[in-house]
Structures are given as structure tokens and as C-alpha cells.
Amino acid sequence: EDKVVQSPLSLVVHEGDTVTLNCSYEVTNFRSLLWYKQEKKAPTFLFMLTSSGIEKKSGRLSSILDKKELSSILNITATQTGDSAIYLCAVVSRGFGNEKLTFGTGTRLTIIP
């Protein structure tokens, strides 16, 4: 059974701090890893990492995929209160002709002003 584990489960930091969120996975036929930000409603897409694109950056957010260690990290620098959210990691794996997205339980990030 495919498994995605995120750590820490929750994190509280002060505005301006840098945070690193972790995601590790055990899946058959890995295809890609995605990061989502979930505030009160639906998850919104942040990054997709594949074998051909193991590092992504957008503003203060960056992510790296380590296929050898079966893990990924999401870094947020100079955190702001608007970064408070649940950050979800999901892994795409291929089954019998189909593709499946398995989510971790998320990391709840709280930024204190």
C-alpha cells in the first residue's frame, strides 16, 4: 500500500523565520511528487517535482526532491502570517494503467506575528 508521511505534524514559528517541511514516501512506480497549500478551503497547487525536475522555486518557497532518499522538503523563507496553512504532500504513482494520488496527513504551519 502506498504511503506518504509528513513531518512535523504541526509547527509554530515567528514571522520572519525560515521553516523546512518534510515528506517521505513509499510507493510503487513513483511518477511525481506534489506540494499543496490548504487554508480553509480547497488545496491549492504549489509545486510538482519529477525525475526531470527535482528542484523548484517560487518566491520565498522552494522544494527539492531526493529520489534516492524517497523524500522531499519544502522550504519557506522569511515567513509571513499569510503562510499559515496546512501544507500537503502528495505522490503520484502508476498502477494497472491508472495513476493515483496519495496524500500525506499534512503539516499545520502557524506563523505568529
Binding site: V4, Q6, R31, S32, K41, A42, P43, T44, F45, M48, L88, A90, V92, G95, G97, N98, E99, K100, L101, T102, F103, G104, T105, G106
Partner: protein, 114 residues
């Protein structure tokens, strides 16, 4: 439409009732996914459509759960004889095709079974 929409946004059902949850994907998106998200958990995959074909329903927790997308656009997730453990947020997502393209999520339907 501009994004994925779902209705109703909130549904309260008495145990044993049947419910139907609707998802309108982004126009032109071939793939549609349903997820169940319990409180404090990440979304869990339920089922996946490519056009009108249900390619994967391995995540449906029991035969009380049924999903359809008869014309390859709007999808309905039906839960028969609801149980308290069915209480969750049901998220729908669509993508251009499969999981190689970004999935856009709807706002979800929060189902509470009393």
C-alpha cells in the same frame, strides 16, 4: 467556469439517508477525481474518471459509495444509507488529463451525518 465548483457546500443527513454530491469540473478538463478528507487528515483518494469512464474506484470505502460522470463533465458522488463515519469533507478535483497535470480542487462539500 473559472474553477471547480461543488454543491451543496454543506450537507447534514440523518443516519440511513442517501445523499448526492455534485461536482462541476473546469470546462475541458478530461480527468476528474473525488477525495474524502476527514478532520485533521489529508485527502484520501476515492475514485477517478477520464471523460465518462471510471478508471479507478479502488478508494471507495464500501458498496454504499457510487460515483458517475455520464457525459464526461459533471460528476455525482452518491452515498447510500449514510453512516456517521461518512462525515467528512468530500473534495472534487479536475485536471487537463490524468495526474501529470495540476489538479484543481473545488471548495468541497462538508457532510455531517447525525
Amino acid at each position: 467556469g473559472a474553477g471547480v465548483s461543488q454543491s451543496p457546500r454543506y450537507k447534514v443527513a440523518k443516519r440511513g439517508q442517501d445523499v448526492a454530491l455534485r461536482c462541476d469540473p473546469i470546462s475541458g478538463h478530461v480527468s476528474l477525481f473525488w477525495y474524502q478528507q476527514a478532520l485533521g487528515q489529508g485527502p484520501e483518494f476515492l475514485t477517478y474518471f477520464q471523460n465518462e469512464a471510471q478508471l479507478d474506484k479502488s478508494g471507495l470505502p464500501s458498496d454504499r459509495f457510487f460515483a458517475e460522470r455520464p457525459e464526461g463533465s459533471v460528476s455525482t458522488l452518491k452515498i447510500q444509507r449514510t453512516q456517521q463515519e461518512d462525515s467528512a469533507v468530500y473534495l472534487c478535483a479536475s485536471s487537463l488529463r490524468g495526474t501529470e497535470f495540476e489538479q484543481f480542487f473545488g471548495p468541497g462539500t462538508r457532510l455531517t451525518v447525525l
